[in-house]
């Protein structure tokens, strides 16, 4: 049995502790609630700007990416970012119902989570600073934008698609990346991440 003090990765096969799994799914449920609420606020907030210049929709997308970044930053194990984002997307789709994008929400969650996961994986799950977080958010946004090119904005001319991608990545870097990093620091200071890396780094030896 893995002891609850063991937060580091040993070898390729990672054993998830119970608290890792429960934290991932709890974050998923909490962010699912946030996503659902943001989904309701999204249309009235974004529609005026989207009417003026459609690629601006990307700027509002960063909020959808935060679960993956936060899950990855807290749990720090392979798969955590992807699964947290996927669970959040599933919860926002299934529990309350009535989202405007249907099962596409799940596909989005998958690609967004994959983007964040990829950045953390390329750094071998060793670096979790603010720059890495911003990068994870940006790549998650870029992945989502690429998915939306295929599924929603297929007929847009390429330059507009590229603007959408850039704005989505920017929004991901700022809102999900830097915002997610600040959120994790805040949670660590509040003392609820003691079982995880960010909480350990906050702890002071006395």
């Amino acid at each position: 049995m893995t002891s609850s003090a063991d937060t580091s990765i040993t070898g390729f096969f990672v054993r998830y502790r119970t608290i890792d799994l429960v934290t991932i799914t709890t974050l998923g449920v909490a962010f699912g609630l946030v996503y659902w609420a943001w989904g309701k606020a999204y249309a009235p907030l974004s529609e005026p700007l989207v009417l003026a210049y459609p690629p601006l929709a990307g700027l509002f997308g960063g909020v959808w990416l935060i679960a993956g970044v936060v899950g990855g930053l807290i749990v720090r194990k392979p798969g955590a970012a992807l699964v947290t984002e996927l669970v959040a997307a599933a919860v926002s789709l299934l529990v309350v119902g009535g989202t405007e994008w249907g099962v596409s929400t799940l596909a989005s969650g998958f690609f967004q989570g994959l983007g964040a996961e990829l950045v953390l994986a390329l750094l071998l799950y060793r670096r979790f600073g603010v720059v890495v977080a911003a990068l994870a958010g940006a790549v998650a946004g870029a992945f989502e934008s690429l998915y939306e090119w295929q599924s929603y904005y297929d007929y847009w001319d390429l330059p507009y698609k590229l603007v959408h991608l850039g704005l989505f990545a920017l929004s991901g870097a700022v809102v999900a990346g830097v915002g997610g990093w600040l959120l994790v620091q805040g949670l660590a200071r509040a003392g609820v991440l003691d079982a995880f890396g960010p909480g350990r780094e906050q702890a002071r030896e006395v």
Partner: protein, 231 residues
């Protein structure tokens, strides 16, 4: 309006949505879009118990579709046919799935994820445990609001103040959720959760005749746009 949708398992409902998502990629002209949407509308009318929820979903999806029609017209060379095709595609992509998702019982989903799809048991059990917390999180949010109002720290009318207030309350909610998570995981481990080899589930994941028929209908509907596109 038979309510048949209530008798199929959650995986069949998700398959309907997944089928419409995949099928939507084959919607390349107006006729395909209209026929596919009509086929889904017929299936929805025949299976749902009441018309209110599907219509509400259609309203939400139409807002999204209208936005895509506008942007495609504006950024795709002012081509009306293309724009409306893109809009219809969004309806095919989103509407069936959002209707079907509304009839999924989250409590039953875990049984099926574990027993039919054979996802890792520990993860599914943790997921189901977290889902149980959803409505208690909603209640906690309302409690936070009442407490803040009683202390006179509610938001003023400006949108910025509302946003700050919502962010602060969301943070407090997240702190409570994380505390609950560590309490729950200690309780789960105390009951031998981490090292269990044989797990039992709340209910068996059965595949009745209705489920198989539902899966066949989901597949058939997904193939409608593809067949129309190829012929």
């Amino acid at each position: 309006m038979t309510g048949a949708v209530l008798r199929v398992n959650p995986l069949v409902l998700l398959a309907v949505g997944l089928g419409s998502l995949l099928g939507s990629f084959a919607v390349r002209d107006l006729t395909t879009g209209l026929v596919t949407l009509a086929a889904y509308a017929l299936a929805v009318v025949l299976t749902v118990p009441s018309w209110r929820y599907p219509l509400l979903c259609l309203l939400f999806c139409s807002i999204a579709a209208a936005s895509v029609v506008w942007s495609t017209w504006r950024l795709g060379g002012h081509d009306e046919a293309k724009a409306f095709t893109a809009g219809l595609r969004i309806l095919v992509l989103a509407w069936p799935g959002s209707v079907a998702a509304g009839y999924v019982d989250p409590a039953r989903l875990g049984d099926h994820l574990a027993q039919s799809l054979h996802l890792p048991g520990r993860f599914v059990a943790a997921f189901s445990a977290a889902l149980q917390r959803f409505w208690s999180l909603v209640r906690e949010w309302q409690e936070l609001e009442r407490v803040r109002r009683a202390r006179g720290v509610g938001p003023s009318r400006s949108p910025l103040a509302t946003l700050r207030y919502a962010a602060g309350a969301a943070f407090a909610l997240l702190v409570q959720a994380m505390r609950g998570a560590s309490r729950a995981s200690v309780a789960m481990d105390a009951r031998g959760f981490a090292d269990a080899h044989h797990r039992t589930w709340a209910e068996p994941a059965t595949w009745t005749r209705a489920d198989v028929a539902g899966l066949a209908v989901a597949t058939g509907l997904a193939l409608v746009p593809l067949v129309l596109h190829l012929t």
